[in-house]
């Protein structure tokens, strides 16, 4: 007798933290317990639904990165950038921050000081004020040195709301920099692979995205964090019931990221970025958008990477370097290095 048994889910796995399909299922499971009607549940929430320019937006994020120090940043800088960027991509200027620190007993003060100095420096750069916080110390072994939860708040800088439902057929997709640098830098550090020149792209996005607020054709933006660019675009395609068509040769590329991906069998499309945004804009304003982005050093490699199409709704297709087409789907589970 044939016994059909697949690997049933009876507990949370590391795959649920990957940012891909399993994370989507996890958040749906949690949200199903709550009353969320009236909120889009995108990167941040607007508290005043009246739609005036002074709308306050809020977001919440947790940081458990390992290792805590990585080329191009550390957990302190990441906490400020990661939480603030969720506001920036919705057209909100980050202004205020609260931090909650879960500290493992035994953490050296020198490390704690360094991470907090890094967070403070980044906040100062972005003109963001720390206004509240909390600390908890847990027994040794119950945390990995330090976990940070960050709540960022800010003011909406446009009368329009940037959201997935704005997407229209023909919209042009622009990527602000090469995808996957944060994930590649962490993978290199985690798996002890020397990667000279590879640094995380961890950065505050607001300075480079703020000028785009002047574009009335700006539809939607997203930072490509966990799950990477591929996951964001899948979410857009599914959320807007439209198709996405990418052009592989247009994607900004980073040689060091690609080298790490080759070694480990990863696809940069699915690796996390922490200073990279994908922007959807009306076709007639694509050139202008590109020019504005390229004026800022963190987005000087910005490029048109594809467009929103009516074909293959809810799916992301990519025209490949050799002229073929392939499907880009959300990653499932934790991304693991391959054998050979």
């Amino acid at each position: 007798m044939v016994q059909v048994s697949s690997m049933k889910e009876d507990a949370v796995t590391s795959g649920h933290g990957s940012g891909g399909r399993l994370t989507q299922k996890l958040t749906e499971r949690i949200l199903s317990r709550f009353e969320t009607e009236g909120f889009e549940m995108e990167d941040c929430a607007f508290l005043d639904k009246g739609g005036n320019d002074a709308d306050i937006a809020v977001t919440m994020d947790g940081f458990t990165v390992s290792p805590q120090d990585f080329p191009g940043g550390d957990i302190g800088k990441l906490a400020v950038c990661g939480s603030s960027n969720d506001l920036a991509v919705r057209g909100v200027e980050p202004r205020w921050l609260t931090l909650s620190l879960i500290i493992e007993e035994g953490l050296e003060f020198s490390l704690l000081d360094r991470y907090m100095e890094s967070a403070a420096r980044t906040a100062k750069e972005g003109n963001i004020r720390l206004i509240a916080g909390d600390t908890k110390v847990v027994p040794h072994g119950m945390a990995d040195k330090i976990f940070i939860a960050a709540c960022a708040m800010g003011k909406k800088m446009s009368s329009r709301t940037l959201q997935t439902s704005n997407l229209r057929q023909g919209d042009v997709l622009i990527l602000s920099t090469s995808p996957g640098r944060h994930g590649a830098a962490l993978a290199a550090a985690r798996f002890n692979i020397a990667a000279p020149g590879l640094t995380s792209d961890c950065a505050l996005l607001w300075p480079s995205l703020k000028p785009l607020m002047a574009l009335d054709g700006l539809r939607c933006m997203r930072d490509c964090t966990r799950g990477g660019l591929g996951t964001v675009l899948c979410e857009w395609a599914e959320g807007a019931s439209l198709g996405v068509e990418l052009v592989e040769t247009n994607l900004p590329a980073n040689r060091e990221t690609n080298a790490i991906c080759d070694i480990l069998g990863f696809d940069p499309l699915y690796l996390a970025s922490e200073g990279c945004a994908v922007v959807a804009v009306a076709p007639e304003q694509a050139e202008g958008c590109l020019d504005l982005l390229r004026q800022n050093s963190i987005s000087r490699d910005a490029a048109v990477i594809g467009r929103i199409v009516a074909d293959h709704p809810r799916m992301v297709g990519m025209k490949t370097r050799i002229g073929g087409m392939r499907c880009v789907d959300m990653p499932v589970g934790e991304i693991l290095p391959r054998i050979c």
Partner: protein, 365 residues
């Protein structure tokens, strides 16, 4: 003198259209639909990821073979690894082995439950971990073909030199030519040509595959992992069939030495000895496995922990064996995409990043 025709496409992307044209011409000359098999999982992913499949002419069917080490690792072998994790050993493995189901879950599940299971990217790294944790028994899962086996062999040499007594290897390495030979003995198999993996050939040399063209009169060619190389390889396979001129050729931008890597083969023959190995879905293939040889016996986890590879008897409806043999393509399996998905894989072909079913599911919608 080994038969070979060393040449590689050096012109890059512009070549694609010309190659497609030639491939169609040769298919027409052959006068019937052709079926090729890419043996290696890395080829499977390269073909999907590059969109090459969408460019292939009608009349050419490309199947995936048994060349993904994760897919062919038998359930009984995973069960041995699980039993080591249960005994409080530190189990070190290459990443994509974590998700492969044994009869009672996977290494990933055990890791989630607190077992000491960690991912390494090299065998030598596992020895370093053993050295830093002298109070723990550290076991490395030696998995893979000729590409990863030399690294395991070198690690065993160093472990012996350093007198490490808390380190051992669960050796599950397998060899590609033996599997191909077994596949070809299946009378139901209708494969006209084989796309052979470049990185394996770098170690084995070309002679190991001469039986395909000389004895079995099948087309065979070695390809690297760039889509241009794979397409050039397919074109030459079609040419071999059309002209009935079966000569092993190489389509790789980096040259493949005809003799392979003698140093690597020497180390392999010193540290391992051939043994019969159980392949998931394919059964036992004589002489296709690597057993740790007597001089290194103290590092053999099977002997050290008295492991007993139980027979794989669970029939879960998964047709991985037929997929790996090229007898069916993934959607022909009743479970594919319904019961068996990357979120809830039934068989290893859906688990691995290089597994045939997983690649079909991800890239072929």
């Amino acid at each position: 003198m080994p038969e070979s025709d060393l040449k590689a496409p050096r012109e890059g992307p512009a070549n694609i259209e010309a190659l497609r044209g030639k491939l169609s011409e040769y298919l027409e000359c052959a006068g019937r639909p052709l079926t090729f098999m890419e043996v290696c999982g890395t080829h499977t992913v390269a073909i999907f990821r590059s969109g090459l499949r969408s460019l292939l002419p009608e009349g050419l069917r490309v199947l995936s073979g048994p060349g993904c080490p994760v897919c062919v690792t038998d359930q009984s072998e995973i069960d041995m690894a699980l039993s080591l994790a249960k005994r409080d050993c530190v189990v070190l493995t290459y990443g994509d082995m974590l998700r492969v189901p044994g009869s009672s879950g996977s290494l990933l599940k055990m890791k989630g439950e607190g077992a000491a299971v960690e991912v390494v990217t090299s065998a030598i790294q596992s020895m370093e971990i053993a050295r830093k944790n002298p109070e723990r028994e550290v076991v490395f899962l030696g998995v893979g073909f000729e590409t990863t086996a030399p690294a395991t062999a070198v690690t065993l040499q160093q472990a012996r030199r350093n007198g490490l007594d808390n380190f051992s290897v669960l050796c599950l390495h397998k060899t590609v030519p033996a599997a191909l030979s077994a596949l070809c003995s299946n009378p139901d198999l209708r494969i006209d040509g084989f796309i052979l993996p470049g990185h394996v050939t770098v170690v084995t040399g070309l002679d190991e595959y001469a039986f395909l063209t000389k004895k079995l009169r099948r087309a065979a060619a070695v390809a690297g992992f760039e889509p241009e190389e794979i397409l050039a390889c397919m074109t030459d396979l079609a040419r071999q069939v059309a002209e009935r001129d079966f000569r092993l050729s190489v389509w790789r931008l980096k040259d493949v030495p005809i003799e392979g890597n003698p140093a690597a083969r020497r180390i392999l023959s010193e540290v391992f000895e051939p043994c019969d190995a159980r392949w998931r879905g394919l059964g036992v293939i004589a002489g296709s496995g690597c057993r740790i040889a007597e001089p290194y016996g103290e590092f053999d986890a099977v002997r050290k922990f008295g492991l007993d590879p139980a027979e794989d008897v669970v029939d879960n409806g998964c047709r991985c064996g037929e997929v790996l043999s090229g007898l069916i393509s993934p959607p022909e399996c009743e479970l594919f995409g319904r019961v068996c998905t990357p979120l809830a894989p039934v068989g290893p072909c859906m688990v691995s990043s290089e597994g045939t079913c997983g690649a079909w599911y991800r890239y072929h919608q």
